[in-house]
């Protein structure tokens, strides 16, 4: 190889300059292939069949499950995300007091991060099933005579509630970690100065902590929204198709019905929604970095 160069040093100099790119190249090619190729294939799949893309989209629009999946996915996100942000903020403020034993609580609170959506769904099934923990407890102390039913098509509202509880239980930890990291970056002197001037907890929170926490809150919101579009395992475990969601319909069309065009369309919808939110994320966060943090 060094034949192509006048001497060895100019080759090694070139190598030295190309090295950073060469090291990143495999990752970049891999990701480009595994995202670019399947997405282009998804468009091909979505346009397959006698009627092409138009007929497949029309088929989707004629399916009542499509509207339900779309609205239920968004509704779940709209109910779950605010709850998670509020709860995570409270928990992060609690941990940030750094009382003795706060580390133990921290490990407990991040535990759900490692629990899968399927396992979380099963855990809350064991809590809420007709003869699960809560019904046994309430019947045991005599508050109710017959179990409260959470599952089954006729109890769809309760199934929705069970999914909300499961998601708040499982995925608040992600929001919590992001907010806690943001909280620990806030200069304590600002908070102390406000305290000296007699600001109470609510005032400190509103005028000092929350404005400084804005980037972390935004990041947490966006990441949670992205994950919310992909909700699948816990919904499938707790409600099946009683509460249709986009990813659940993609799975159903692909595996059960073998309508690959419809499954590909659902994939493209989830990807489109995610890209839209991702762009919003970059647009929102960029001015802050440009402004030197604010």
């Amino acid at each position: 190889m060094s034949l192509f160069f006048k001497d060895k040093s100019s080759f090694s100099l070139l190598l030295e300059r190309a090295l950073p790119y060469l090291l990143v190249l495999p990752t970049l090619l891999y990701l480009m292939f595994f995202i670019g190729y399947p997405m282009s294939q998804a468009i091909v799949l979505a346009s397959a069949g006698p009627g092409g893309l138009v007929a497949n989209v029309a088929g989707l629009l004629n399916d009542p499950y499509f509207y339900e999946a779309f609205s239920d996915t968004l509704l779940l996100a709209a109910v779950i995300i605010p709850l998670q942000v509020l709860l995570a903020l409270g928990l992060a403020l609690l941990i940030n007091v750094r009382f003795p034993g706060h580390n133990i609580l921290l490990y407990i609170l991040v535990l759900p991060l490692t629990i899968s959506d399927v396992a979380a769904g099963l855990i809350w099934y064991s809590m809420l099933a007709p003869y699960g923990f809560f019904n046994r407890l309430l019947m045991g102390i005599g508050l109710i005579r017959r179990p409260i039913y959470f599952f089954g098509y006729q109890f769809r509202q309760m199934e929705f509630l069970a999914i909300v509880i499961t998601e708040v239980w499982r995925a608040t930890a992600i929001v919590f970690v992001i907010i806690l990291a943001g909280l620990q970056m806030i200069n304590k002197e600002y908070v102390e100065a406000a305290e000296v001037f007699g600001a109470n907890l609510i005032q400190r929170l509103r005028h000092i902590i929350l404005p400084l926490l804005k980037p972390s809150l935004q990041a947490a919101l966006i990441i949670r929204t992205l994950f919310a579009f992909q909700v699948f395992g816990q919904v499938w475990i707790l409600a099946g198709r009683d509460i249709p969601v986009l990813a659940g319909e993609a799975y159903y069309q692909q595996v059960e019905i073998k309508n690959y065009s419809a499954a590909a369309l659902y994939s493209l919808i989830i990807a489109g929604l995610s890209v839209a939110v991702g762009l919003l994320y970059i647009k929102l966060l960029k001015p802050q970095y440009a402004g030197g943090g604010g």
Binding site: L19, P20, Y21, L23, V24, T27, Y30, L31, F34, I35, Y37, P38, M39, Q41, L94, F99, H102, L105, Y107, L109, V110, L111, L113, T114, I115, S116, D117, V118, A119, L122, I123, Y125, S126, M127, G132, F133, M139, G140, W169, I174, V177, I178, A181, A219, L226, Q230, G233, W236, I237, G240, A247, A250, V255, A264, Y266, S267, I270, V275, G278, I282
Partner: protein
């Protein structure tokens, strides 16, 4: 009202409220985990007694049957193979990239980093559907290797970003000193930086393991016969199975996650901080 309560008492009240909140928060997480694990081991006599809130007699029967009669052992094996393969593949591809982003300053570095952050936000699950068609064509359908490739696409951005921050934490001086003493760049990486970052990389490997172990959508779509554990459990629940098998499944699925939190707790928060920023 607050003004009438003496300062010392107010402090005590504050402390009590603080610990009360901490206990409620801990219970909110721990009670469902503990109770569901206990239910997985409850003996049938306790399970069918509706008024027994917490079982006191235990059996391994349900976990045993789930593993050996309902074929979950094979699913566990599939999950472990896929997860280990995902670690190997994403490390081979990702560690050089992480090293490059941590050690070199070069034109386009920030753009590359941003690209990787963006792919991390892309819902990789949606590649599963179109990937099925490709896998059928090239003979990878329903293979553990095919799923491994898809899980690597999912884990790779995380591995690059986490390892990059681990490498950046090892002082450059050590590597430079090694190079002065005659090691080349590769040698100084292998003999100095890699051993020093071993604990962090071990935590990264566990993190990657959990990503793959927990993933259900891609696995369910790509693997119809060779189910991994979450996919196997999902099918089992979809087609109906007695409650005690569902509870027993929780134990098998959650065990590696618990071990991970216990072993890697030192790195846990930092790592999630990096990946979620």
């Amino acid at each position: 009202m607050a003004a009438t309560v003496p300062f010392r008492h107010r402090r005590v009240l504050g402390e009590v409220a603080l610990y009360l909140a901490a206990i409620v928060a801990a219970s909110w997480i721990l009670i469902p985990v503990t109770v569901s694990l206990l239910y997985g081991f409850a003996s049938p006599r306790d399970y069918y007694n509706r008024y027994k809130v917490i079982p006191t007699a235990f059996t391994l029967k349900h976990v045993y049957e789930l593993l050996f009669v309902l074929d979950s052992l094979k699913a566990v094996f599939n999950s472990v193979v896929v997860a280990l393969g995902t670690i190997a593949l994403s490390f081979v591809l990702g560690l050089p990239a992480g090293y490059s982003l941590a050690r070199f300053i070069f034109p386009g570095r920030d753009t590359l980093k941003l690209l990787i952050i963006i792919t991390r936000m892309f819902p990789i699950m949606v590649i599963a559907v179109p990937l099925t068609a490709l896998y059928i064509r090239i003979g990878l359908s329903d293979t553990l290797f095919g799923l491994m490739l898809a899980h690597t696409a999912m884990a790779l951005p995380f591995v690059v970003l986490i390892s990059s921050s681990i490498f950046a934490g090892i002082p450059l001086d050590y590597e430079e000193a090694a190079m002065i003493f005659g090691l080349n760049r590769l040698g100084s990486f292998l003999r100095i930086t890699l051993p020093l970052s071993a604990p962090g990389l071990a935590a990264t490997a566990m993190f990657t393991f959990i990503i793959s172990w927990n993933e259900v959508f891609v696995a369910s779509v790509l693997m119809l016969v060779n189910r991994t554990l979450p996919a196997h459990i999902l099918t089992m629940v979809t087609y109906g199975c007695p409650d005690y098998y569902r509870f027993a499944a929780i134990f098998i699925m959650v065990l590696p996650a618990m071990l991970f939190v216990f072993i890697a707790r030192k790195y846990l928060i930092t790592m999630w901080g990096i990946t979620m920023r």
